[in-house]
Symmetry: C2
Subunit: 387 residues, 2 copies
């Protein structure tokens, strides 16, 4: 293997005015294969195959773009939590995007647009969006790795949650993957997930760290067996890390995704947690990894089962109304959206990719009593245990 | 005129399962005429013609429903600011609704649905919504007259604006009319207006009062002559009350309707003011009345001029994207929406009637340089003086 190939390998092929084809290079045992992964508006991509003991960083050739931190640094620091987390979220992003593209491919073949962006104040991200596909109306999977000073509103929120942090100048590091997938067919639910690692250092040099995250499902029509299989997959991801985790985080999810002014949950829930910092960073990381790895097996079978079902104009209109509720939750209540929009230099396109392609608001819409629409609302008003 | 006719006259005629025809009774000089005003889901309506010196309360027979306060009380207390304001906003609501129905009528005849509602904690409102019309996709005109204890978040906001209020238990009275009118045709701008009167009494019994309000225009395509005529009408309403008012409130409007994360104003502005309490309650009221009366002459000619213009699919899509921005402003930044949703017992359907029937969010949408869409965005990024 030549030194030149070992070096950062960036290949961009211009295809027309704004399009680039991304080439990744797999260098394994002295054989070189070049594979066209996707077409997007990528500005650069670097792939190495380097000696490493971490399975996440070893998957770098499949990632949607170069990571934010130099890949070599990630490969050489597989014991460092910041590096481990960045490699994990890059790998989860890639796994989810490839799984969704596969579902789309069978139907006509839309691909994710990949935007790697850097933030003036420190860090950056990789935003992947597949828009106006056959199966997915809008699917966004975003990685961000950000450093800087904590916005004052975020510090207030964290202190209200019990964090002790001295002084005003609070340095932070945040690495997370977040995603919202809005399918076109009203019989396929929307899914959201977000897994993140946070570090804050206060003016006295005291450091704190924690993990947060969750996955939750928002159906437009209630298929109980889908809700059950989804929750079972999440429970399976949680159980090896403590039998108490799934019930605790399931309830937290119902409490968090609450559209307070309507007295309705956003969907049929899932899991949600924050401030997880016990027993050790390593064990917390393994738990979050297990949750992140459950996204594809919990959700994709539901897509496969329902994506070819026929639907009516009225069913589509109901879906659009429910998407209006989704927008209400995200813009009025969601902590992540607020944190994002209030962070100086935030990339609002990445934060707001969670919004659906289309949403509706009808004044005083109320589903017919006894209808399938009313049955969904009943479950949203009174969350239930699915397993 | 018989005593019976002088009494509260409520007539409801059931038309099918959920529909009611509202009958108003005009009693003038011993002649009695009954006129079918509109069909809606009204629960009650009372109209009097009583001796009164206030032109607003004298128009009660044209109002969209009974006021929140007993009409007799309004008629007998025309010197009381709470009563004056309630009569004014009921009259402005009726004037706007009738003017819009007239535009709609020529095109096919959708009418406002009228909902009079009462709030457990005190007061209530009248919400009028015309949805899915030919000219107006969604038009809402809402009156609310509310009393109670100030929500803590609202008290924080008011103190931040300089209000001195002692104690935690702050009694308030608020009466206002607010409206958002979303036309179907992308060549007709959206308009918003809101005029309100506020009283707060703190724990020491200290009372404060002030007026607030504004009218602003959100075009989808920029017609400079429409922006100019709109601003001229607002200036004409302001000038008799002080030549300094229009420039001051025009700037305030540009500053307030700012979608901070995008660095874009919501539209081409208008006027916006708050905490107006000088020189006298009477003079402030006359100013607000003059502004409220300028809504129809500033906006309806623009509707008439543009409502029959043809438009393309792409123009409609652009309108829907801009409506997404409108939703972002209203749910993330608008003080009125937040105050409403955080007020216990608030009627969220009335607060959220401001949201468009349909909105879109496309990831990374950017208008072609030099296009009419780009020209609009240019003005939203750099507000200009129209007169």
């Amino acid at each position: 293997m030549s030194g030149a190939v070992r070096q950062c390998f960036v290949t961009l092929v211009r295809l027309g005015a704004m399009k680039y084809a991304r080439l990744t290079v797999h260098v394994k045992k002295h054989s070189l294969s070049i594979k066209l992964l996707s077409v997007g508006t990528l500005s650069s991509f670097t792939a190495f195959s380097y000696g490493s003991s971490s399975p996440d960083v070893e998957s770098a050739s499949t990632w949607m773009s170069a990571p934010i931190t130099d890949l070599k640094h990630l490969q050489e620091n597989t014991g460092d939590m910041r590096c481990k987390m960045e490699s994990l979220i890059m790998r989860i992003q890639a796994d989810v995007c490839h799984a969704l593209e596969k579902e789309e491919l069978e139907e006509g073949g839309k691909k994710f647009q990949v935007d790697r962006w850097l933030r003036e104040q420190g860090g950056g991200g990789v935003t992947c969006v597949l828009q106006d596909g056959t199966v997915f109306e809008k699917a966004g999977v975003n990685v961000s790795v950000v450093t800087g000073l904590l916005p004052p509103d975020a510090a207030i929120q964290m202190r209200a949650r019990g964090k002790k942090m001295q002084g005003e100048k609070l340095k932070f590091f945040a690495a997370g993957v977040s995603s919202v997938i809005h399918p076109r067919n009203p019989h396929v639910p929307t899914v959201h997930f977000n897994y993140r690692y946070f570090e804050v250092e206060d003016e006295n040099g005291e450091k704190q760290w924690w993990f947060g995250g969750g996955t939750d499902l928002t159906p437009y029509y209630l298929d109980e067996s889908d809700a059950v299989s989804f929750h079972k997959a999440l429970k399976k991801a949680c159980d090896p890390h403590g039998k108490h985790l799934y019930p605790k985080y399931k309830k937290w999810c119902d409490d968090y995704f609450n559209i307070t002014h309507r007295g309705e949950r956003r969907g049929v829930g899932g899991i949600f947690f924050d401030d997880v910092d016990e027993p050790t960073p390593e064990k917390c990381f393994e738990f979050v990894k297990s949750c992140g790895d459950s996204v594809v097996p919990s959700y994709v079978p539901i897509v496969q089962k329902n994506k070819k079902k026929s639907y009516t104009y009225d069913e589509r209109q109901w879906q659009l109304l429910r998407r209006g509720r989704y927008v209400e939750f995200n813009l009025i209540y969601d902590r992540g959206t607020k944190f994002g929009l209030y962070t100086p230099g935030a990339r609002y396109e990445s934060i707001l990719m969670s919004l659906p392609l289309t949403a509706k608001w009808e004044y005083m819409h109320s589903p017919e009593p006894g209808s399938r629409e009313a049955k969904l609302v009943e479950v949203l008003k009174h969350p239930k245990d699915w397993i």
